[in-house]
Amino acid sequence: MAISLNINGSRRSVEAGDDVPLLWVLRDVLGMTGTKFGCGIAQCGACTVHIDGSPVRSCLLPVGAIGDKAVTTIEGISETPEGARVQKAWLDLEVVQCGYCQSGQIMSAAALLAVTPDPDDDDIDAAMSGNICRCGTYVRIRAAIKQAASDGRA
């Protein structure tokens, strides 16, 4: 069955059952592999995408439930001002180690800044505690979010 999706500003038609999670439609049907599989039960945040700007774990989101809402993935996040600032801060502070969780981290961070342009530590904890990083880059993630926020005020 063909499902029409609005992904990163483009209309895409995919052959997939309604119940297939967006994660696997992105990765295995559309070949958009920037969004990662980590746990499959919304515990790690590696699969985070935006649905109408809000962070959502795509591993549990049935593709049939998305409708006309806008899907944004790591491949498109640089088009948003928050996403571009977050990516720049990630590069400036060398946040990344293995990098596998970082698509999800960046998506969560960009969503945070869109709603809370000047987050404090508690805001960051609340927005980012659903994203596990096994390399332990949390200290730099915190600093990079603050830098991205600061760049947004400049």
Partner: protein, 721 residues
């Protein structure tokens, strides 16, 4: 008199290996790596050795013998090569080495493997020579072209300059001519004072592709016509498939095939979701085999009994019998649990088979072992197996094993299409190769406020005996006793034993930090218990045993000073310190933690001081320590794999917990400036956090914990003593 078995420590063994001693049997021909020219690809390409290619268009490609799994090695190895080559570092490209033991084996391990914090230690000298040799040939080519003395030529950022005549030529222009130059036997290396790249926090080469989704890990590989499979092995270790009813699974949309092997089942689909739903619908009856009643309780009973028996002597210094007979005797035993690796990228491997060859797409720490294991599985020569290595989404030792590739190939043999096999998180957790359980017993005597004798027995699995049999000699696993033998403290009578105790059925392997995780925990916890018996501050107690170890003393004082050691703290808040002499790097870690009335722990602050010698990329080193601390503290707070009815009880991040950002404290890492030979880093950060945290809890509550992970019930309501 110190009567160490020669080469018994990791450092000693590795040194001996380099000199052609203990590891002679598998010592590699170092010369081949740096002297042998790569196969010609084009007439204007200059490829003087296995690591460097410069083509006529100006591209400099550096071939990475070690794999990038987050530790930053692609950047630091490239920096070493580019420093001596005088390449333009902003324009170098890196690529993964193919499997080739002769060209790319790790000089300290003797096999092509990335681990043990030895990428920089092993390749520092060979890569400097490789870069210097290539540079010399480029200079010779320029000098010949200009008919000048090579000694009058200088190099900088990919350009040779002859100042006297004002002539310049780029490496690209010289590539064709350089390939005809003889390779000098002994090209001079730079004086470290002249380094312009090494010692700078150069930007990582892999980061840009990792922030915009472009990077391709093994799990991201896509081939034309590819199917996706996921698998289930018997939940009981060693069990087999008895019967399978696939009727429901085959009804799942997108499921194409069910593969049944003697020890596993797999469902093949158009995408991972179909395969996963199909696997859940598959009705499998398992023959659970001989280990169906195995439990953690049994394993601990056996290990505790084994740890009470005499072991093989790994070190004996002074007179332990007399030493233990003088002064006040103190004894303790420390226990460490099984741990899973839980890398963020679940295990995976992609396979394309032809009748007589095989291609493998994977991220692995052991490319040539994957090649050999797959070749053996298929019954074809190694050379018929192509391994395309990828960035790894977390290794931590799990990808030092080739089992995921072997399983994928066995499944792919039944499928008439290229196949990607992905482990679910649950399968990844339940069929890991676990960090072994250990039990360490220490007995010591205190005399006049100092340690007079120290008898230390390590009991646990010998991972090295399975993974690198030639390195397992005289019954001693040098990894399992590494920091026990290399203890930094000056104690007159020291005796170290090792008891090999293999748990039944549970596969064990290397886990980031490896043997020192266990040794340093036991040592540093016990030192704090002795300090308390002696009525001495833990830092002061350690200081007086470090007079012969200036680098250890340096990091101890630096960490203590930066952490505000001795400053007043609120009730139920404590500071703990731990020292480690690991992988040729000296580190002191101070953890400040609070224990609430329920025994819950809040990490307040972590301070580490690190002396690793020459810091190739200081920012990467700081990042590795920061992240390693999180990795180790995660294990101390939450990590334990338990076995019941032969099965691993944990499955996913809901029941195998990871530290999260809201639980992460401030972390300050201080590097000591040094010109000493560079030490290892990747393993190191993991090691010091757990004992420093335990000692902080000891200071906050007075409770001497002796087992990980931390049992909150033991510290609930405790008071600061």
């Amino acid at each position: 008199m110190r009567t160490d078995v020669k080469g018994i420590s990791r450092r000693g063994l590795l040194t001996a290996g380099m000199a052609g001693g203990v590891l002679l049997a598998f010592r590699l021909p170092l010369g081949a790596q740096t002297a042998e020219r790569a196969p010609d690809e084009s007439p204007d390409q200059f490829a003087p050795n296995a690591f460097i290619r410069i083509d006529g268009e100006g591209r400099t490609t550096l071939v990475m013998p070690q794999v990038e799994m987050g530790q930053g090695v692609y950047t630091s190895i490239a920096m070493i090569l580019a420093e001596e080559l005088d390449a333009d570092f902003r324009r170098v490209a890196v690529e993964h080495a193919p499997p080739d033991e002769r060209l790319y084996a790790n000089p300290l391990l003797g096999v092509q493997a990335t681990g043990n914090s030895n990428s920089i230690r092993a390749f520092w000298t060979p890569l400097r020579k490789a870069g210097a040799t290539a540079r010399a040939m480029l200079v010779q080519a320029a000098a010949e072209r200009w008919q000048v003395d090579p000694a009058g030529c200088t190099t900088f950022e990919g350009v040779v300059t002859h100042a006297a005549s004002g002539r310049t030529a780029t490496y690209a222009e010289l590539a064709g001519a350089a390939r005809d130059q003889p390779a000098p036997a002994d090209a001079p290396l730079k004086d470290p004072r002249d380094f312009t790249l090494i010692g700078t926090s150069a930007k990582r080469l892999d980061t840009p592709d990792k922030v915009d989704g472009r990077v391709v890990y093994g799990i991201d590989v896509r081939l034309d016509g590819m199917k996706v499979a996921t698998l289930a092995q018997c939940p009981v270790f060693g069990g087999r498939v008895a019967a399978v009813d696939d009727s429901a699974a085959m009804q799942v949309p997108g499921v194409r095939q069910v593969v049944v092997l003697d020890d596993l089942v797999a469902v093949v689909g158009d995408h991972m979701w179909a395969a996963k739903q199909g696997l859940e619908a598959l009705d499998v009856t398992w023959d659970e085999g001989p280990h169906a009643d195995l439990s953690s309780a049994d394993i601990w009973t056996d290990l505790r009994a084994a740890s009470e028996t005499d072991g093989v002597v790994a070190r004996s210094t002074g007179d332990i019998a007399t030493g233990l007979g003088t002064g006040e005797l103190v004894e303790a035993a420390y226990e460490m649990p099984f741990l899973a690796h839980a890398a963020m990228e679940p295990l995976n491997c992609t396979v394309r088979l032809t009748p007589d060859s095989c291609e493998i797409w994977i991220g692995t720490q052991v490319a040539s072992r994957v090649q050999a294991s797959v070749a053996e599985t298929l019954g074809i020569p190694d050379g018929k197996v192509t391994v395309i290595n990828h960035y790894i989404g977390g290794g931590f030792g799990r990808r030092l094993e080739p089992d995921m590739a072997v399983a994928a190939v066995r499944i792919a043999q039944k499928v008439a299409a290229p196949l990607k096999v992905i482990w679910t998180r649950e399968e990844d957790t339940r069929h890991d190769v676990y960090r072994p359980v250990y039990r360490d017993k220490i007995a010591a005597t205190l005399s006049g406020g100092s340690i007079a004798a120290w008898k230390y027995r390590v009991a646990g699995a010998a991972v090295l005996a399975r993974w690198l049999p030639p390195a397992f000699q005289n019954g001693i696993d040098i990894d399992a006793v590494d920091s026990a033998v290399d203890m930094p403290y000056d104690i007159p009578n020291v005796h170290v034993e090792y008891v090999r105790a293999e748990p039944p059925a549970v596969p064990t392997g290397f886990w980031r930090g490896v043997g020192p995780n266990n040794n340093v925990f036991a040592i540093e916890c016990f030192i704090d218990e002795l300090a308390r018996k002696a009525g001495t501050d833990p830092v002061a107690f350690r200081r007086r045993m470090l007079e012969k170890s200036p680098r250890m003393l340096g990091v101890l004082d630096l960490a203590a000073g930066k952490a505000g050691w001795g400053d007043a703290l609120p009730p139920r808040v404590g500071r703990g310190i731990a020292l480690q002499p690991t992988f040729d790097t000296s580190i002191a870690t101070v953890v400040e933690a609070e224990v609430d009335g329920d025994g819950e722990i809040q990490l307040r602050r972590v301070t580490a001081a690190v002396d690793t010698g020459i810091a190739v990329n200081p920012d990467t080193i700081v990042a590795q320590i920061e992240g390693g601390l999180i990795f180790g503290l995660t294990a101390a707070l939450f990590g334990e794999i338990t076995i019941e009815r032969g099965r691993v009880q944990q499955s996913n991040f809901n029941d195998y917990r990871m530290l999260r950002i809201n639980e992460t404290p401030r972390i300050d890492v201080h590097l000591v400036r040094s010109g000493e030979f560079p030490g290892g880093i990747g393993e190191c950060g993991v090691i010091g956090g757990p004992p420093a945290l335990r000692n902080a809890i000891y200071a906050a509550t007075g409770v001497a914990l002796r087992r990980l992970p931390i049992d909150r019930s033991l510290i609930a309501g405790g008071t600061r003593s």
